[in-house]
């Protein structure tokens, strides 16, 4: 029997209780202005699980051994809107400035490792793969690993499938669209080669056991995620990236984000195409 949604009320106290719990588990902090967004999704899950009211739902979610409901709710609460070649000046910076500098000082044959977080539905890691193929001659000399992570398991599945709307691919140059996509009805399917070029994993940046194994990256793209975090969670994320990078590795943030306001661990690097942040070569 379905619960009558119109009768489910999320009180101010419920909202604050949920917000505090969700923040502790994910590092994502909802301002009061997001109340409608949060309430709507909570009510949706209360209804779907036939919990009846917030209290029953919250207890079920909080004490569920599998954590499945929290994961489901996390998937609903995270914003996943993006598109191919978004803020492409940073990809120009990647192929024209960052990678040339990295390979110039490389003394081993270790693959170049790139970590994208959040992955969202895969547009960013696939864009990087296309950029490397089309605009970086070094791809013929160097092996590259691209790892793409997100807290939302649903969106990771979507990324692995690689099927996109016309809106999502609207900035993809026509020759790339022909080369890397197949039109399927109103949608675009990314090619198998690119799907195989990116590994997708589930990661919660606020969870030390999740991030401990992420090491030896040359470049991290973390764009438009930290704006959803509070100061302390941003700082924690910056420290996770610091340990994930090799000495001299780079972090690229979104255009509205600045590492200088978050942490003193990084050097600011002003390249002609973009400002990025670097772990110093002397760091360990």
């Amino acid at each position: 029997m379905k619960t009558d949604m119109s009768k489910i009320i999320i009180s101010e106290e419920d909202f604050l209780k949920f917000r505090e719990y969700f923040y502790r588990k994910t590092g994502i902090n909802f301002e009061t202005t997001k109340r409608y967004f949060v309430d709507k999704r909570l009510i949706e899950r209360i209804e779907a699980t036939d919990s009846g009211d917030f209290r029953s739902y919250f207890i079920m979610m909080r004490f569920q051994a599998s954590g499945a409901e929290l994961q489901l709710l996390t998937n609903l609460m995270t914003v996943n809107e993006t598109y191919f070649l978004r803020e492409d000046y940073q990809f120009d910076c990647l192929v024209n400035s960052i990678l040339p500098e990295l390979v110039k000082r490389k003394t081993d044959n270790r693959p170049i490792r790139i970590w994208c977080i959040p992955s969202s539905s895969g547009e960013e890691p696939y864009t990087i793969a296309m950029y490397l193929m089309e605009r970086w001659s070094g791809i013929h000399q160097w092996d590259v690993e691209i790892l793409s992570s997100d807290i939302d398991t649903g969106i990771l599945n979507k990324a692995r499938i690689g099927r996109y709307s016309a809106r999502s691919v609207m900035h993809v140059p026509a020759p790339w669209l022909v080369k890397y996509f197949t039109r399927v009805g109103d949608e675009y399917q990314i090619c198998q080669d690119l799907r195989e070029a990116v590994e997708f994993t589930r990661v919660n940046l606020a969870e030390p056991t999740d991030t401990r194994g992420y090491r030896n990256f040359d470049i991290i793209f973390c764009r438009n995620l930290l704006i959803y975090f509070d100061d302390l969670s941003r700082k924690t994320a910056a420290e996770v990236f610091f340990d994930a990078l090799i000495p001299g590795g780079f972090v690229c943030l979104g255009h509205a984000e600045s590492m200088s306001r978050i942490s003193s661990l990084y050097k600011v690097r002003k390249f002609p195409q973009a400002i990025v942040y670097q772990k110093s070569l002397e760091s360990r």
């Binding site: 690993e145 080669d193 992420y214 090491r215 030896n216 924690t236 610091f242 340990d243 360990r284």
Partner: protein, 208 residues
Amino acid sequence: MAFIKKQAQPSTEQTQSTPETRDCQSLLKQLSSSDSTERRWAARDLVECPECANALMQRLKIETENSVREVILTTLTRMGDPVAIAGMVDCLRSEDAALRNEVVEAMKQLPLEVAPMMLGLLADPDPDVRIFAVNVLESLCHPEVESWLISVITDDAHVNVCATAVDLLGEVGSSNAIQTLEQLKARFSEEPYIQFAADLALRRINEN
């Protein structure tokens, strides 16, 4: 294509993190390691060991590697317990300016935990500590900030403490502060900076 997928997984090497070596006692030992990476990882993982807040505090006072200090402070901020707060307060008396600034920034993240200690800090015999306490108020999201600042400019005898407080009142003050600002001007009538800063604060408050 030169893309590699098989190896594109979280690295399993050198995480020094097998479960048996990540218990609190082992982490405490690693916190004193000669390897800064090991100390940094220990400081991060000690967030699960609230009883180790004091050990983290002691390490913070002698730690020279900036990245380890930063992680220790993040861990202490996440703990936010009375031991961590007391340790931070203690660091406000340090001769190490960088450490004091880092601690001020950390305390700003803990409004509810720091609030009970604020009156004591603002009455500290050391004027430098009182100035740092006002610095903490700069970004402390707490409803008492304005009334604390008003009490500082009412009672504090030290001109530099009052100057710091009046600067901040110009940003966060309301009409509640007007009378006290006028009294401050009278109390420090020979101090040009106080006259200037109080006038500026009054103008800003009146504009709002």
